[in-house]
Symmetry: C2
Subunit: 373 residues, 2 copies
């Protein structure tokens, strides 16, 4: 039984299916056929995303929104427009792509076998003592990756927490790369779904988001990145980062699939948002079942309230992989060892709410009956 | 009237439309829904591509085929798995992505304003005197970009010409990056559609291809890259490049759209290939009309026989942009100045066969009536 993968399992909302069919249908007639579109995305979709942000009282211009084939490629490629001398800060634990791509690019320095960290990277530990959200770095860094709701901890940054980073970034001329791929899972209206809900964040933050979890598009491939025009970086005029990303996308990318974009448009309609919300609610109910379940057997759990991930402390200070074996052998349940997300993930374990309800219930039931604690 | 853009204009073959609808339909039911797939592509599609190559008497393993969102991203990203010290050779003129991505990566050296070339790049001029296909470089290079059928010249390399490059690459431990995106336009059975039709090419060549022009997928986004397991590079064991590309794709990419892949599968069926061939034939007839048309008014034209591009010599040794203005002002036709593809493109002009028949005919008619030669 799998509680390990961050992969959607439920069919797409009906209106999104209709949108995708519409996208296909258009390709069958000479009057509506389209070939290469703008690398930055269909104008209608960029405008629909601008409208979507208005719902959070965030004003953007369509030229600040870049449609892509998903949040993973964007999180991976965004570093490529910054110089190799930039100092990178990552949350620890974190989604591995931020670190891996900087290692490949050559910004990490050597690996310290003992500490399990790269010497050139600034790690921002996220643990119980800081509610799994870090304080700003004590030294000057240039690029800061933040993910909220967080993968893997399920923690969601408050406006206050984000404001500290925005203030830091503006003062130090650093850039925040804000991964909001799980923002649709925030139901608490007091928590920010976009970093731009924080004043002046447009001067220092790039935001990456996706239709993957919101609309079930993990396989369909559609995401977007916001690069504000008035983003300021050291030694460059405002607008420079926006134009660099535009240049990067135009040279290395040829636009998201026109079918996926048509589906995305339908997902952003009023009806589409309603149906997608039901999909999100389904996974959130799963999350609740998992969190309640693991707590009911005396395990300590975090996240899973405004995020689809439950971050569990392993019992008796077991190492993550030890618990992986125990969970697999005793309860026949697969999860993800926290240590895979960074050194501060050691002793933790990620359970994912993506799955069919009956499978989730079966897994929890097996954990309750079979796990020897 | 536009003869400038390499963008498809005709609706997709019916069977491909059905395949795409099938891809969408599957996402609407829990039994057939799929989320993230393999970064390397759907196994069925990789196997179908292996079958496709068998038609050219080329044997590949599915693990050597990497499905992607198109030939452009692959041509752009392939350089990233090679060290920055590698010397790059490009055909001149060439599709700008090969050069641009190497400039961005930092392999080009300084730009020579006078020669209009980068000092660190080896240019292989393609002109009338070599039938628009270059001889092997006289010095040692590491990465060689070849495109056949060629964009922009429309020239197709013979087996003999490719064999010289394969021999050179094997001797010098260089890697050929072979862009075969227009291979479907080769009707002459004597010309190779894949570089692997040349003996031993798997030891030295990566091949990039696409459904864009073959099946009209410019907007749908689907392509593939072949990285043979026994490709040999200097200082690395066989299999290393395959595993590096695999690592690169798994870190920076999340697979092509599952809808597009389903469409690709249908395009590779027997019926699919037949219908796609009709689409290709349509554009090839356009190419013939363009080539015959420009020749009938006394202009010298190349390509357009086994390729969708016609490479025209400008009249009276005009510069490419001069002729652009003349063609636009006198005949109201837009084409692409050859100088945009490299210094050896100066004095040439690219006309594209992608367009509706009636628009192509109108453009040629206007050229015949209005161009003052």
């Amino acid at each position: 039984m799998k509680l390990g993968i961050g992969n959607t399992t439920e069919p797409l909302p009906q209106i999104v299916i209709e949108g995708l069919h519409e996208g296909v249908r258009k390709l069958g007639f000479v009057e509506t056929y389209t070939g290469y579109g703008d690398e930055q995305g269909d104008k209608r979709l960029r405008e629909a995303l601008v409208e979507y942000y208005k719902g959070m009282f965030v004003n953007l211009d369509p030229s600040e929104v870049f449609v892509s084939d998903g949040a993973k490629p964007d999180s991976a490629n965004i570093q490529s427009i910054f110089g190799l001398e930039n100092i990178i800060a990552v949350q620890d634990p974190a989604y591995p792509v931020y670190l891996d791509t900087n290692v490949i690019a050559g910004r990490s320095g050597k690996f310290d076998e003992e500490k399990k960290t790269y010497r050139g990277i600034v790690y921002m530990p996220c643990a119980e003592n800081n509610d799994f959200f870090p304080d700003v770095p004590s030294k000057k860094v240039d690029l800061i990756y933040l993910c909220s709701p967080n993968n893997p901890t399920g923690a969601v940054a408050t406006k206050h927490q984000l404001r500290k980073f925005v203030d830091y970034a503006r003062e130090k001329k650093a850039v925040i790369i804000f991964d909001a791929a799980y923002s649709a899972f925030i139901w608490d209206p007091g928590l920010p779904r976009s970093i731009y809900e924080v004043e002046n964040a447009k001067e220092c933050a790039i935001e990456i988001n996706s239709f993957s979890k919101y609309a079930g598009f993990t396989g369909v491939r559609l995401g977007w990145t916001v690069v504000p025009k008035n983003l300021v970086v050291e030694g460059a005029e405002p607008g420079k980062v926006n134009s660099l990303w535009n240049r990067r996308q135009c040279t290395f990318f040829n636009g998201a699939s026109n079918i996926a974009q048509e589906g995305g448009l339908f997902a952003l309609t009023e009806q589409g948002q309603k149906e997608c919300q039901r999909l999100v609610d389904y996974y959130m109910k799963n999350a609740r079942i998992i969190r309640d379940g693991v707590e009911s057997i005396g395990l300590k759990a975090f996240g899973g309230i405004n995020a689809p991930y439950i971050w569990m402390k392993t019992p008796n200070s077991m190492r993550s992989w030890e618990f992986f074996d125990k969970l697999l052998n005793e309860a026949h349940v697969v999860g993800t060892p926290g240590s895979g997300f960074g050194p501060s993930g050691e002793g933790y374990f990620r359970l994912s709410a993506f799955g069919h309800r009956e499978d989730i219930e079966k897994a929890l039931d097996s954990m309750k009956r079979n796990l020897k604690l």
